[in-house]
Point group: D2
């Protein structure tokens, strides 16, 4: 199998950037599922119809997420519909289907049609790389919404997973007084070694009144009612945990505290970087497959 | 002279924050020249009229700028007018008048009324400190307007004065590929020592096509027509030089390049930090006067 | 159980610092197994004999390693011998025995005497925290042995485990051109996100001739003969992998390359920090036991 | 004048490295005034005698310092003597004489012989660039002599000139708690902006007992007797001010405090980097002369 021939089959701005990225790297790129006014770089070919699009391609790359209804592909930049069924029917078993957030139903369907399928959104390196635009998006929000600079601000990061790690490194680099809540002793040792101030969950409560801004990265509720009571009213809470988030916005509102729930930042704040991250991940998938 | 009794006489959000800051530090603070709906912290007294406001105060602090018409104080958060003439007439020579961007005419008027006057905006430490919110404001703009992250972006800073120094340190800390244009060999040595890449003015032209974003801090035109020609169309130029700026917006537009002229960022992006910077500077003025 | 009464039972400089640290934190500290000329801080009591030493103590803390012969405690700062057998015989089952690198034989013996035993050297947070003095020790070696500054030096770190992570953050902060070899795509994504340059193992060979210094943190041979052939003769290799190390010193010598095998750096370069790390870890052990 | 033909005329290791550097950059390099066992890179020619050495050269570069006796060149790696008089007599007025720390007497002599002369050691960019190896040398000393890591150490830098600026940036990057003493309000604003803690000279005294290490960069006595009294006995003082230094070693000894006077660190800790800095500076001299 020679992986040079790629079909980009619908998607948002990130996927447009993905197409341009593959093209720039010398891949043979065909697109389908984008409205006419979407500008691709020179060298990229628009297919006239789905059959032409799929013909002769080694890899078919669809959007992020692949689908929202389990029936059609997610093609926000296209006025028509592309049915998954139609795509899989036309594919051959030599072709690879690649997408992000592939649902069990789609996986199942691929199985039925005997099509190899792989999900780039499940790759650890993509999640790590996405922490960079997520952290920047969070900082942009703080810069925009706070009446003080990030420099010198008393900043608390809840959680020391991927986003917590990158976010605290950036806050510290910008001169924020960076505090990070973590439960594991080893995480607290890392926090110390990187020069931030660790706060064990036990000590969190007493420390809360000092903060100008709190970044939550934990997908469950850490800031319980008796915690929120201690947060300053002029403190901004930026919740970065994926839906439904980790901070109860209504509870916080009762104490007059503003919460911003920031979702899917990479695609919003840096679609080109997001596209490049997806490309790098797909190249890794190729490498792992030995193609 | 005992400097504990302060009158805050009009001004914008920064000056409101300044009043709160002095109050928090234990100073006796009276305000005048703000509309009723402006919230000051507890302990701050609103004077009923100008005469009461000035009575018994050691220092009279006005806004930034002090005036825009040389006749009235600049009081953007007040519905009425306060005439400079009225203020100076009511002041005694034991009182100190402090303001920002004091015009020659105002200085002159103070001389006539025998009032000591000092300008905090002329202090070097304020200009240095203001480089921090300015740099953050510039980065916020870049994060907002660029389709890529600041991390990994090819970033050029024109000039290595106060803003250039702080801005390049922040860009580098965020993981941008940080290039700095400077003319002096010693500045290029500093740039090197701090880990950025120096570009002598001579070599600037050839380096231009690579940049995703250019931050100008130089108050005259460096990017001449034959330079702009080489800048990529998708490059963002953020001009931080004070009015009229250092980048010709129309010339750039002819090449399809977007220029944002960002002025007075500290007051806009971080009024509280700006207020604190002014307070620190005024405390230094007191220290220098031995009061 | 009340953990305030501690016996420090022999050990090197780190353990002396450990005793002082516990004393400073308000613990009741008795020592035994140190020569008379070892200076402890005021408030620390020297026991006259082993029986007195153990009497009434809640916790018995011995050195690192606990023993090198499985018969006596490791007491490098003491002229006499302390037999493990004697210690365990005198202990009660209410007392806790704490040590570093406890051998299976010692664990077994504790079981026979029904003594609770725990090893601080097995704790993840200690290993993480020790990466800091290890990284500094490696940098001190490089500063000492290289004819160039660390700043600007082309530096390669082999491996991105605990030491690799901290070491690369320090090298980067000092202005070295920091390259990190890693195998996992997710590690390469972290390396990228932190601003270093990742080198997949596949690409290592071709990159080798450029380096001024190579830091190995991997406990097996990565630099095979055909790799070493490509390393410059004036390149310094610092091997940080625990014995027997990961670089073949003799093979390297055949190519004229200098290898320094740096072992147990924390205790050598920063015994007080090492002592503090052990104290923090033992406090965590107490916390985990709920004492 | 064509500057490609260079004579390197005696000097220490830095100057050997300087010769290799020019050679690597493609200059035509001849050497004289070095013992036979000094290894130069291939392509560099050793002259048989002084006359041959000087013949046809555009630039004559001597050591650092040029001379210590005003009679002979400073040639520490040479067994014979080279008389300044002999050199100048053989030079023509088309040739340029370049050296470091040129004495008034030598300058005078050049005038008499009508030889153009320039001192690279007077160039600001060299002084700035040398701050990098100086700061590293100071940190290496601290790493070597302190029983704690630089990370987490309470570190005070006296003075915020060139060395103070670079040193505090490195200490901060390594995770030291970095305090910097300065007198000017604007310097304190810079210190703040870069994220270190500023200490105005007025407040220095009270802050002294907390420090693990003090780096002095000020060439006069700041740590007076009543200051030293407050420094902890286990505090290490590293004096980086040029001879006679800024810390009174005997006074400090009376209080049991260790002082290390570290002189001429660039040549000692990083001769190759030092040689490269000199080369860059000489290239700047050529550029300024338009050659």
């Amino acid at each position: 199998m020679n992986c040079k021939k790629i079909l980009i089959l619908g998607g948002d701005k990130r996927i447009v950037s993905l197409a341009n990225n593959f093209n720039r790297d010398g891949f043979d790129v065909v697109t389908y599922g984008f409205s006419e006014d979407i500008d691709f770089d020179g060298g990229i070919v628009r297919a006239a119809n789905l059959k032409d699009a799929l013909s002769g391609r080694d890899v078919v790359i669809s959007g992020l997420p692949v689908t929202v209804d389990d029936v059609t592909l997610h093609t926000p930049l296209y006025e028509d519909k592309i049915y998954l069924y139609d795509v899989l029917k036309l594919m051959t078993k030599e072709q690879l289907f690649v997408g992000g957030r592939i649902t069990p139903k789609v996986k199942n369907l691929c199985g039925i049609y005997n099509i190899s399928v792989t999900d780039y959104f499940e790759r650890e390196e993509l999640t790590v790389a996405n922490a960079v635009p997520t952290a920047e998006g969070a900082i942009e929000l703080a810069m925009n919404l706070l009446p003080v600079t990030v420099w010198g601000s008393k900043s608390l990061v809840l959680g020391f997973g991927r986003i917590g790690k990158i976010l605290s490194s950036r806050l510290n680099a910008l001169g924020a007084e960076t505090y990070v809540e973590a439960r594991k002793f080893s995480d607290l040792a890392w926090i110390d070694a990187y020069g931030y101030t660790g706060i064990p969950l036990n000590n969190l409560k007493g420390s809360l009144p000092q903060f100008d801004v709190i970044y939550n990265t934990v997908p469950h509720e850490i800031l319980t009612d008796d915690m929120l009571k201690l947060v300053r009213r002029d403190c901004l809470i930026i919740d970065l945990a994926s839906a439904p988030g980790g901070v109860d916005i209504e509870k916080a509102a009762r104490y007059g505290i503003k919460v911003v729930h920031a979702l899917s930042l990479p695609g919003k704040v840096a679609p080109e970087t997001a596209g490049e991250i997806i490309k790098d991940t797909i190249l890794n998938i190729f490498a792992d497959m030995g193609v």
